[in-house]
Amino acid sequence: MSDRAKATLEHVTVVRNERLSEGVGRIVLDAPRCARAVRPGHFVHLRIDRDASELLRRPFSIHLAQGNTVEILYQVLGAGTRRLAEKKPGDTSMDIVGPLGTGWSMSDATAHALLVSGGLGAAPLGMLAVELARRGVAVVCAMGAPTVDRLVARDLFEKHARRVECATDDGSSGHHGFVTDISERLLDETAFDVVYTCGPEAMQRIVAEQARARAVACQVSLERLMACGVGACLSCVVTTRSGRKRACVDGPVFNAEEVVWDGSETPPRH
């Protein structure tokens, strides 16, 4: 996977915070040091509120970095993300630790890449699509979401990918069904060099299996409960063929082949 970056503790200013659809938002933060250092697949550990009874930071993927700003796509789930959605432009109450983690690995030999996202799994794939396109890789995206409004990164993918195909659970856009139906067809149609995927773990597991069956390399980005985010607490372990690894430093991106899908490690459902 790609190199880790030097992380810093950085106070951030909210530049923009907007609702994209029911329960999903995009926040743009002024965070020059992070914006400079971040690479595709990295995340930040965000402190949303200093006085709250919720003590811990919240991990969020960097969706895009431009100039001095980084952009996060977030889904409102619990107390932390609820308060995040209320932040106003100009707010200076938050700080981040980042960029953190081991991101997506990009090989110079890659000519064709398939990106498969489920819901907010599109978040860590944003910078990746931009970077792959910049490198001249032919990018194809398969996106899934509950409904058309939740295909939140579609514009970005359409800008940078050769082709974008969508699936929605309710049929409101594209294929009426699972994104894994699309990825399976795409993998059969095209000889991809690599598959990158992020989304619900059950979905990633299916995509990994589709790639494995066709001997295509596959990278997954996994979510775990994280206390420290820097590799010290061992809260976030992922079972791999070479033992328990820390999602926050050894991941969140892993080679799919490495992961033992033991299913016990998913964060709380809401």
Partner: protein
Amino acid sequence: MDLSVEVAGLSLRTPVMTASGTFASGREFADFVDVRALGAIVTKGVSFVPWPGNDSPRMAETASGMLNSIGLQNPGVEAFCDVDLRWLARHAPETPVIVNVCGHSVEEYVRVVGRLESEPHVSAYELNISCPNVDEGGMAFGTSCSGAHEVVTACRAATARPLIAKLSPNVADITEIARSVEAAGADAVSLINTLLGMSIDAGTRRPRLARVVGGLSGPAIKPVALRMVWQVANAVSVTVIGMGGIMSGEDAVEFLLAGADAVAVGTANFVDPTSVERVTHGISGYCRDHGIARARDLVGGLIT
């Protein structure tokens, strides 16, 4: 400002150490703090053979605190010497290293100490007889006077280095345990380890931790920690290292006033990776504001 303190015969530059298991061996925080400026580094728990730790989920957030059930996952003492101690010797050669020692049996504690005796870069041992996250050993020793006494006695015979007994708060009278480890030859006690707790997800009707129960840490437990430090400092004459919910310099000062000779910062490292430095500066600032020349003059200074 003189921040130096004496802990179990060691001279520390500052009274602020790291709490075991929350700072790894320092490397993970090297981007954020100068590990050479710490009072001491207390490493994560080290066992003789590698321990896999518990199943996930291993962490749950609670009101002003968190539960963990890591279960002392560690690569064993050999790997610890190869990787962690080597890194520390190189990057923090002057900082005292206190190794947190754990075992499933009295013999395992002794074997870990025995293996580390030949390592020059170890300053002291902290015997973890209070981890609530393992089935054998850990808290089982630390919640009875006889168990605590036995572990300390055996390790005392194995080393002349300072021995710190880390006490469990999950007891009716912590001063009893403190006195029994003092009698067994401990040079210091550190407290508190985590309170045994549990969290339930009403939505799924399942425990939030795979192990069901885990250890509670963070500001939520500070009142319990302060009370126990105060009780123990009044009960023993050995060094007392206080911890439990320290987030700021002011919190640390409260522990010193209650009778701790030094403090350790744990969960705060997760919230703010610069915490150990911030707490240290906070103590200096407090001393400056209150006209106190030496931080150690605060120790036991509570006016009752």
